[in-house]
Symmetry: C2
Subunit: 265 residues, 2 copies
């Protein structure tokens, strides 16, 4: 990783990265398939003529999309910071697009503990799938009790141990996270579930969504949410909802009212 220590002449550049996760094995470079980071690092290295390795804020899973993931890298190139987005976008494949590039302080680290992350899970709720929206929403044909789903989601707000809503990961030190807000609404035939928190455990948003889907179908009760939280028992929660319905919407850092990007409104 070339994210180093603030040597003279070295600048740290922060990228806001959007991608369609359909054909990627997730954000982070790994042996089992092409990663978004791998493609981005290759384009950056070609652009700058030297090996660059970015550090990303969120290691989204295979198939998960992003409108505003964040990555940083260090460079001594003298290109104006805002030009990196244009220069990279001409090299990147169509399913990855930089939304903003800017210089940040050399001690800016994308995995701050104080970030505020928002994810959205989209459920296309209609009889038959819509092919034009199949890549970024999960199709469910049956009726769903949105009011119950909303009540269930609201029970997650606050600081809790979310062990019961996560796939076990031995690298995770603490399973306590804070959820600031949940929203669930329907626009036409699309149900959109947004959850904002200071961090999310492995598969946490997908397991929460899978549980809310069970509640919506009447197969689980909202009362079970506090029980899953208090027991920390993953087997009590619903199944992990499929990856392609999930999008990382934005990541905000301390002092930012909204994510620095020109475009996502």
């Amino acid at each position: 990783m070339t994210v180093g220590g603030g040597k003279p002449g070295i600048r740290r550049i922060r990228l806001t990265v959007a991608y369609d996760g359909t054909r990627y094995a997730g954000w982070q470079i790994q042996p089992n398939g092409l990663a978004v980071q791998e493609v981005l690092d290759r384009c950056l290295s070609e652009l700058l003529g030297t090996e660059i390795r970015t550090l990303g804020a969120s290691r989204t899973d295979a198939g998960v999309h992003a409108l505003g993931n964040v990555a940083v890298f260090d460079t001594c190139a003298r290109m104006p910071a805002d030009k990196f987005s244009y220069a990279l976008n001409t090299r990147l494949p169509e399913d990855i697009r930089i939304q903003c590039s800017e210089e940040v302080s050399p001690d800016f680290h994308p995995r701050f503990r104080e970030t505020v992350k928002t994810y959205e899970y989209r459920i296309l709720n209609r009889r038959f799938p819509d092919p034009t929206r199949r890549l970024n929403s999960f199709h469910w044909y049956g009726s769903l009790d949105l009011e119950a789903m909303r009540r269930g989601a609201a029970l997650l707000v606050g600081t809790h141990d979310f062990k019961g809503f996560a796939t076990a990961n031995p690298q995770t030190r603490s399973t306590v996270r804070t959820i600031f807000k949940t929203e669930l609404w329907k626009e036409d035939d699309m149900i959109r579930f947004r959850i904002t928190g200071n961090g999310f455990l492995y598969n946490m948003v997908r397991i929460i969504t899978g549980t809310l889907l069970e509640i919506g179908k009447g197969a689980m009760e909202t009362d079970q949410i506090p029980e899953i939280l208090s027991s920390g028992d993953r087997s009590m929660a619903g199944p992990t909802a499929r990856a392609h319905g999930l999008t990382l919407v934005e990541i905000r850092y301390p002092g930012e009212e909204k994510q620095k990007m020109d475009v996502i409104r």
Copy 2:
């Protein structure tokens, strides 16, 4: 074509067909690439164990999408009409989905002169493209005068000779069409332009959209719309907007308040 003459025991089935046109050379079977109709006919023929050829209402261009194209075929199979949608959807690729199947009168012809067709052109108006919406919207980074575009679109309503807004096609007898309604609005960063009429000439919606885009940019004036209509001169209109922003939304037949489909709302 097996759409025949109403022999005893032969039923006519009407399908409402949705597709992501990205990887297709249009609706109609043709030598230069895979057509939606080709895939549909193959699945139908396999399902029924006999060669079936559908007749489609709208020959959408390469790359154009549909939520509600209409196709009919004749069969003596005794499967309940509404089961064709389920049976076909298990065989079709993910980018084609039947939305409704039903029996119609043996003299129902999908290319009625009295149909009411609605198309939508989507313009994603933001600084950088959004990879998750790249397949069904055209990206434009600059500012657009929506009010001028709306005024220009309104000048198309009525019965006119649309020769100036069409790519010449020697097979077309009359270039007169009636536009019933145009709508243009912005939702967040997406501009949606809807146009409803009794029929559209070859490339007509895309040339109209290309002209409205020029008006939105300030490169053309709304006054030029009536001039293009009266002159019939294609070279006076704007460029043909790219196919991937266009979707055939619905086709209504005489006596139908809205398209027969369970799902598109």
